[in-house]
Amino acid sequence: MPDILPATHVQEPPPPAERFSGPVVLADHLTVRYGKNRALNDVSAVFPSGAVGLLGPNGAGKSTLLKSLLGFLVPEKGSMKVLGMDVATSPLEIRERIGYMPESDSHIPGMNAVSFVAYCGQLCGLPTADAMQRAHEVLYYVGLGEARYRNIETYSTGMKQRIKLAQAIVHDPDLLFLDEPTNGMDPKGRDEMLELIHDLAHHKNVNLILSSHLLPDVEFTCDHVVVMDKGTIATYGPIAALKGSTGRVYELRIKGDQARFIDVLKAAGYEVHDSDEDVMRVFVPGATDDSTKVLFALAAREKLQVRHLRPSIPTLEDVFARAVGEV
């Protein structure tokens, strides 16, 4: 069968350019204030390349950290480096190489999706024709191909989240800042957004920092995590290492006064937190095979019946709970 187009018309995929592979972000004793409130307090952290989750409860300082890295906020003290460049001296060079998906609903009024994304590409230095071509490409990539000529103001919340991602990646950034990317999305849309982020990080080799208070989002998309709480870094490292570090987690259900038994376990030096229904998760530091016997012994001493006890796979929730002291 003859070729439809001569071979010269076939666009070969361009050779992939080198991505930045060192630590993408370095924060050194960073302190940021909003008036009298200290939003970041002496934060020092290293964000390796790849997908890093920035995890913490609301008000932990995640968005403040991202906005400081973008140069929107001037720190009271400390310094920051993004992609090896100092935020204080090279903010524009940094912003040329990063993409930012803000938490709040943001768009440029009066534009349809393709014009908006192309416009954002041009603002990042892409020539008009290239920006338009990439706008079409990324809109298909984020799943808005069919809706790309609609005015953004008519979009649903989920579509607005996607368009924010599209404008952040149109110029092919080396590093993406994603601030709560699944906010307001329905379960299906949320799963699709997480798949996109996972694909960007693991198949398209885009470095990204995902700020979220949703542990499953971070666990699904990221390899590393930085846990923040009350403007400080609570813990950081590879998720796998943090989950499997210094102990074991058991799921435990008892018959009797659960609250009293939690107090007993805490007094015995165990970390406990309630999960769904009446099952508690007990973290036994440096656990050995005898740890189950100890749990049975404690229950027996308190005249409580153990109805369910089994070792559990440590989750990011356990890491988070330990890090922010919710145990």
Binding site: P14, S104, S106, I108, P109, C120, L126, P127, Y141
Partner: protein
Amino acid sequence: MPIHDQGYQRYIGRRSAIGQGWKVMTRAGVMSVITKRQFIGLMLFAWAPFVVRAVQIYVSATFEQASFLAPKGETFREFLDQQGAFVFFVTIYVGAGLIANDRRANALQLYLSKPMTSAEYIAGKLAILFLFLVSVTFLPAMMLLLTQAMFAGSLTFIRNNLYLLPAITLFALAQVLLASTTMLALSSMSKSSRFVAVMYAGLFFFTTALFNALRGITGKSSFAWLSPSASLEQLGDVIFRLTPRYQLSPALAGLTVVILIAGSVWILLRRVRGVEIVT
């Protein structure tokens, strides 16, 4: 293999140097305005006085009986004064939403997350309004001067009134800069373009009314500095070598205009930032 993969691909093309973003903004802003029918209508109205003046010049140059219609230096001053009304309407139509709409849609954080400073953002927005205001002040005034030379068939008038070239430029610049910076500053202070339009009109009419009231009470026009438009009129008279209409020092009139422009720029630099800080 697909001929063209519509998935995400690396970009290996060229990028323009940092600092060009304001041009992109200006181009997009101008294009979005000139496609509106209402605006085209407004511009046609704004150029109507030019057509009338051009006819006047033609008649005076062609028919000796109508030589009393021949333009003088102050004709151009009057023309720019008349265009002040269109400056007002164009400023409101184009300028009210320039920053207010971006604030309403949280677009500032998008703009400033690109390789662009807040000064560049302001320059991009200012250039949109500046271009349209120049097109209803400086451009028709200069074309009127050229029309005179064309119909008269000589450059004698221009040669005899050479000061008109810098005078038109300077006065139009003062008109345009005052209107555009003030409107942009107001636009940066609200999320509603309608509210901004009302504020601008209020500022214009209230200050003029206040000045006229004080003039009525005291019988003196030395309070002209209270009104930006009266200060501009006073400045215009001096620039066009006419007898100043108010009892106000031209330096004070100029200072009022400069302070308003500088104050507006100061407000803009404070209000245009990537994050809203409420303390």
